[in-house]
Structures are given as C-alpha cells and as structure tokens.
C-alpha cells in the first residue's frame, strides 16, 4: 500500500472538494482497501464519508423507500419491514460476503465496487481493464466471466444489490461535481458505461458520490437467488432477481435481471414482455429465459452459466407465485 492522506468530510460538498485530485471515498473500505493492498488503486487522499449526515438511514415514504449510501448490508438484511416490502432486496443483501463483511460494507460501496476478475485483481498483470491492451480472460481462465459484453472486457458486474435494485426499478441519487442538484440515475444508467468501455466498472466519474438509493413501492413481489460454488461467503456464479405484479395466476410488469453474466446488470425488455399478462408457470418462465439468454456468448470455460441462468430465472419467477 502506498502512503495516503486521510480526511473526514462533514458535507457532500466538502467530500467532493477533498476527493478532487486522485482521492477516493472511504466508507466500509471492503473493496477499496483490497485494491490498495494490491497496488491496483493508489489514491493520494482517502476521504472518510461515514460522518456525512443522514446517509445512514432507511426511511419509508409515500411512494418510495430511501436507503442511505452508508447503510450497511447487515442493516438492509435485518430490516424487518424491508423484508416484507422488498424481499428480493433483502435476499440479495443476505448473500453478500460473510456476516463480518456485511457489518462493515455499505450500500454505496456495494454498488460502486470494482471488478473481481482475477486478471484485473492480480498486481502483476496489466489487463485491458487496467489500461493494458489485452483481455487475458478471453483466451485464458474465464469460468467466472461474462456471457454478454458490449466491449472486449468480459469481467462481470458482481454487486448483488445492483441486480435486485435493477429489478425493483430503483433510482440512485448521485452528487456530481459542478452540479447544484444531485443527479438521478437508473441502475441501467449507473452501469451503462461499463457495457461500452473496458476500463469502466460503472458510469460514475472520479469524485461522483452516491448519496442514496430510492426504491419505488410497488404492489408486486420480488425475489433474488444466486448459485455459488460454496454454500456461504462466496460470489455468485450467476444471480437472478425478479419483480412483478401477480393478479391471481397472471403476472404483469415483470422484470428479470441476471447478475455475474455481463458487465452490467443484464436485462432484455423482450424477455420481460414474454411474461406480460400471462399465467405464470414453468413453461412460460423457460420461454422468458430463452429470450433473455438468446445472445449469450460462451467462452472456453463459462458456458455452464447458461443452464444455471435458465434454471435461476425459472426458480426466481416461481418464487413470485408463492
């Protein structure tokens, strides 16, 4: 780890000021400190944002719930009411890391975390994502990598919360430099840049600060499931979040989002449309999964993710029925 300065911000404005010039925000530090220890990130300044007022609360409003960026994953997981309003979000939170990690990791950090690709995370390898000229995973070891990408990098987005929040149509409130009012970004917008640009992990620019997440209250249900190699404390090989309104046996306004298979939370509007207004059963869920996975491109070692994704879509949709 290279030496750095440390400062505590008391307001979003002072945080943005302090971070300018090769600084990084420090909340839980789970992702950042790992990168610093491997010399992948070498910030000159760490700006502690844990003292920012009001960002550690979960609040319910008339139309939406607001979750502060500094809320820990454990708080999200343990929130009794949230469990019944957004079960999918609670299930996604419960699958993050280990309990010790969830006690420290924050919502903002989970959304803004960087790639876990083992080429990217290796201090001796200058891969495409780090500004090199080759994605080594493409022709190397890629069992954890993407089935879909808009560029040459095939490292997938690994934020559990982003997958559930995408299905729930959440809005991320971001303070950007030089803007009076915080920007409102959909989850798709928050990651769009990673689809096109191999060096991007998300659409945030250096200095952009996630303040809150707004999750609209829907009349529908939600679910999240993942498959990992280990039973606990492991990354998803594939994850799937679904949300939708059930009218008897019929489903409407369905959203299916896959995680760990693309450099963005992966959604195909045509797959959602397959479900609209129809009686939800396994055959219909399979049809939607087929449309969702139609453009999947497997590499030498990650093709097994396709049948897993198909199964997860079906299982997650069946949870909406229950």
């Amino acid at each position: 780890m290279t030496p750095f300065q440390y400062a505590t911000a008391s307001s979003p404005a002072s945080a943005l000021e302090l971070v300018s010039g090769n600084g990084r925000y420090l909340a839980g530090g789970i992702d950042l400190l790992g990168e610093m220890k491997e010399y992948i990130a070498e910030p000159k300044m760490l700006v502690n944002i844990k003292a920012l007022p009001g960002l550690d609360k979960i609040e319910s409003g008339e139309k939406s719930w607001t979750i502060g960026a500094n809320v820990t994953i454990s708080e999200l997981e343990d929130h009794a009411e949230l469990k019944t309003v957004f079960p999918g979000l609670q299930q996604a939170a419960a699958e993050v890391g280990s309990r010790q990690i969830r006690n420290v990791a924050t919502v903002g950090g989970n959304l803004a975390q960087h790639s876990r690709c083992w080429y990217y995370r290796h201090r001796d390898i200058l891969c495409l994502k780090k500004g090199g000229d080759t994605c080594y995973a493409r022709h190397g070891e890629n069992k954890y990598h993407s089935l879909f990408t808009g560029n040459t990098c095939i490292s997938p987005v690994v934020s559990n919360l982003s997958i559930a929040l995408a299905a729930l149509d959440a809005v991320v409130i971001v303070q950007r430099k030089g803007e009076d009012k915080p920007a409102r970004m959909s989850i798709a917008q928050l990651y769009a840049k990673a689809w096109d640009n191999p060096t991007a992990h998300h659409s945030l620019e250096p200095g952009d600060l996630i303040l809150k997440v707004e999750v609209p209250i829907q009349q529908g249900r939600s679910a999240y499931i993942q498959v990992s190699e280990k039973s606990v404390f492991d990354w998803a090989l594939v994850s799937c979040a679904v949300a939708g309104k059930m009218d008897g046996a019929k489903i409407s306004q369905a959203r299916i989002v896959l995680g760990a298979v693309a450099n963005v939370p992966y959604e195909v509007p045509e797959a959602n449309k397959v479900l609209e207004g129809k009686v939800l059963d396994e055959a219909l869920a399979n049809q939607a999964a087929d449309v969702l996975l139609e453009r999947a491109h497997a590499h030498s070692e990650n093709g097994y993710k396709i049948p897993i994704a198909r199964t997860l879509v079906r299982r997650a949709l069946m949870q909406l029925k229950a």
Binding site: R116, Y119, K143, V232, A296, A298, E301, G303, Y304, P307
Partner: protein
C-alpha cells in the same frame, strides 16, 4: 480438509503465462463453517492399538466418499476433483467438458 479437496480447492493458473490467478482465499476456495454438514463422531476404544496418529489419513477417504455420494445422486461419475458446478453439468451432458456451451 477432505471436504475442500472434494468440492472446492483448486489452484488456477493462466495457461499462457504460468501466473497463479487465485493466490488468495477469495478464489482459492476453502470450506468454512457454513459449508460443513453435521459430522457424526465415532470413537474407537481400541487400547490394543496404542497411540496412533490422525491427520492426513482422514483426508483421503473423505473426497472419495463425497465423490461416491455425488455419483449416487447423479447416476454418472464426475471424473476429477474438485467436483464443481461446471463439471457436474458436463457429467450430466448439459454442457461440454470445460464448460463451453
């Protein structure tokens, strides 16, 4: 130890450069408490054997026992360790060996 040997532990090396890609316990996966099922202990009271060591010997049959259980459940054998999701799907004929679809 036998449990990790059967299901998780694997050194992954980039075939072109020889760089080990999982030199950490994030991707070199080790079983944790939540992964281990309840274990029945059977104490053998055999004073005629004297004091004997226990350590490595128990790791050898564990993986074999788990592999047999997997074969029993699937109806086909997974021919190498660790028994990972891609290998199970390959053994079932759902994907080609190596995981390519």
């Amino acid at each position: 130890m036998g449990f990790g040997y059967a299901l998780y532990e694997e050194r992954v090396m980039d075939q072109l450069s020889g760089v080990v890609l999982n030199p950490n316990f994030e991707t070199y996966k080790m079983a944790a408490l939540g992964d281990i099922p309840e274990i029945d202990l059977v104490l053998l009271d055999m004073p005629e054997r004297g004091v004997i060591g226990i350590g490595e010997p128990v790791t050898i049959p564990t993986a074999a026992a788990i592999a047999n259980a997997v074969a029993n459940a699937l109806g086909v054998r997974v021919p190498s360790l660790p028994i990972t999701p891609p290998k199970v799907l390959a053994a079932l004929g759902k994907v080609k060996t190596g995981g390519a679809a």
